[in-house]
């Protein structure tokens, strides 16, 4: 279970972006988070991915309350959540090739030996051909780069996936391909999904349920 319980977060303590957001995602469930720009959806997604310390509230991941964030969070908790960001250009290290980008989580966690085989397994799953893997981010399109970023998020087989407006920059066919890749992965592993976005139609069709951020008031779900 991924539980966000009355979370208040922001970038300035006296003026949080949102207050008291509560949201729960069950294992294997896909939840869409809808809302207007600037209301704090991405900040909530960052809190759920252990990348942003909330000012108040709790995050409970698979029964463990998270007490440390970013580098200080235990590695096994951090890697339990795979994240795909909105803008692939800023989410990919411009100096690495696509293969290195995909393999980076394995190298970072001391599993270098598995890197080549995992890249070879993930690349076709997200629709990347072998010739693209040797290219650097500036040599591929946004769609191709976002496929690599999705593959990177799946490299460590996370139990949870957070897609923060993953398809906002992409055309319809790439959107469909990426959503299909996520769903195939979820069907194989039973991973839970939190998909953040603006596109009500897409999220309604993609997710088991959608939660709305109405009038800039965060979701307050209770289970």
């Amino acid at each position: 279970m991924l539980e966000l319980d009355t979370v208040t977060a922001g970038y300035e303590r006296r003026a949080p972006v949102f207050r008291g957001a509560s949201l729960t995602v069950a294992p294997g469930e896909s939840v869409g988070l809808l809302g207007p720009s600037g209301c704090g959806k991405s900040t909530l997604a960052r809190v759920a991915a252990l990348l942003h310390r909330p000012d108040a509230g709790r995050l409970v991941l698979d029964g463990t309350e998270v007490r440390a964030w970013r580098h200080r969070a235990p590695r096994e908790l951090r890697t339990a959540v795979g994240v795909v960001f909105q803008q692939p250009r800023t989410a990919a290290d411009p100096r690495l090739t696509l293969a290195e980008i995909i393999a980076e989580p394995l190298r970072a966690t001391g599993r270098r030996a598995e890197a080549d085989s995992r890249v070879a397994e993930l690349a076709p799953a997200v629709g990347l051909t072998a010739d693209l893997l040797t290219r650097r981010p500036h040599e591929v399109s946004d769609g191709q780069l976002q496929r690599a970023c999705l593959a990177r998020a799946l490299t460590l087989s996370p139990r949870w996936l957070i897609c923060d407006e993953m398809t906002a920059m992409l055309d319809a066919s790439t959107t469909a391909a990426l959503v299909a890749a996520v769903e195939t992965y979820r069907a194989e592993t039973g991973a839970g999904l939190l998909a953040v976005g603006h596109d009500r139609v897409l999220l309604n069709r993609w997710c088991d349920r959608t939660v709305e951020w109405k009038d800039c008031l965060p979701p307050k779900e209770t289970r």
Binding site: A49, R70, R78, Q87, T90, A91, R95, P105, A108
Partner: protein, 278 residues
């Protein structure tokens, strides 16, 4: 188009000048095997001629040879001091930017403390602690010049560490050390390298200033600062060449290295690169 021609002209002029200087300081001493300290009072203060293109000094020593040896020492001081200062500045700046919090505050207060003392004064204090020689001068220049690199690297790291690719690395299980070494440092190295290149002529000027003040290299050793210092009395007597040539050899490498650094800076900037159609 004219802009691109200027860029290429600057690149070639600077590269050829730096190449000639490097060839001279690397090849002339082992090839000619002449003693730059050899005194010949019968030839003192001869103006430039075919035998002595830069003339001779007040002890009859060939100035061209002394200038080459002096340039060699000054370049060595400049290169090593710039390298040490860049390594120290990059390490401090990266640690401050990547770790943040108290580490950042403490390191930046240290930088402020060093900056609050005029750096020539601090340099004089450092050389005064040791016997005159090349290494105290290098230490003096390095100790006073890592600050700007530390600031540049810190600000770059601070801006980079909030980028999503760093978040992705953190989420992928990377330690703080790995994020710094794998993602942040490679991104700031071009800026640090540019700062190092620009520091080389600056360090050469510092060596010359310290030697001119009698605090740098031993006075008998040929360095550009010592050559200008020794030539002061002859300048007042109307003998211009012992001052002019060492002075020019300080200015020409400075301009050439600054030219190369300018070319590098243009190439680092994507907008400038596309303007220049590189």
């Amino acid at each position: 188009m004219a802009d691109r021609r200027t860029h290429r002209l600057r690149l070639w002029t600077s590269a050829v000048t730096v190449g000639v200087i490097l060839l001279a300081v690397l090849l002339v001493p082992p090839l000619v095997q002449l003693d730059e300290q050899a005194v010949d009072l019968s030839r003192k203060l001869l103006p430039p001629s075919w035998d002595h293109p830069f003339g001779t000094d007040d002890l009859g020593r060939d100035l061209l040879l002394r200038c080459v040896y002096g340039l060699r020492i000054s370049l060595l001081v400049g290169l090593v001091a710039a390298l040490v200062a860049t390594v120290v500045g990059t390490a401090v700046g990266a640690a401050a930017g990547a770790l943040g919090g108290w580490t950042d505050r403490c390191l930046m207060r240290l930088v402020d403390a060093f900056s609050s003392v005029p750096h020539l004064l601090l340099g004089i204090f450092v050389v005064a602690l040791f016997r005159p020689g090349v290494w105290p001068v290098i230490a003096s220049v390095a100790v006073t010049h890592w600050l700007s690199t530390a600031r540049i690297v810190r600000s770059e790291v601070l801006s980079l560490r909030t980028r999503p690719f760093v978040d992705a690395a953190v989420s992928g299980g990377a330690s703080r050390w790995r994020v710094t070494v794998r993602h942040l440092l490679p991104a700031v190295l071009p800026q640090a390298g540019l700062a190092a290149v620009l520091m080389i002529p600056h360090a050469m000027w510092h060596e010359s200033a310290l030697s001119f003040l009698g605090l740098g290299l031993p006075s008998h050793q040929a360095s550009l600062g010592n050559l200008v210092q020794n030539a002061r009395s002859s300048l007042l007597a109307g003998d211009w060449w012992p001052t002019l040539f060492p002075g020019l050899l300080l200015i020409v490498p400075t301009l050439a290295i600054a030219g190369l650094a300018g070319v590098w800076r243009d190439r680092l900037n994507p907008r400038r690169r596309s303007e220049l159609m590189l």
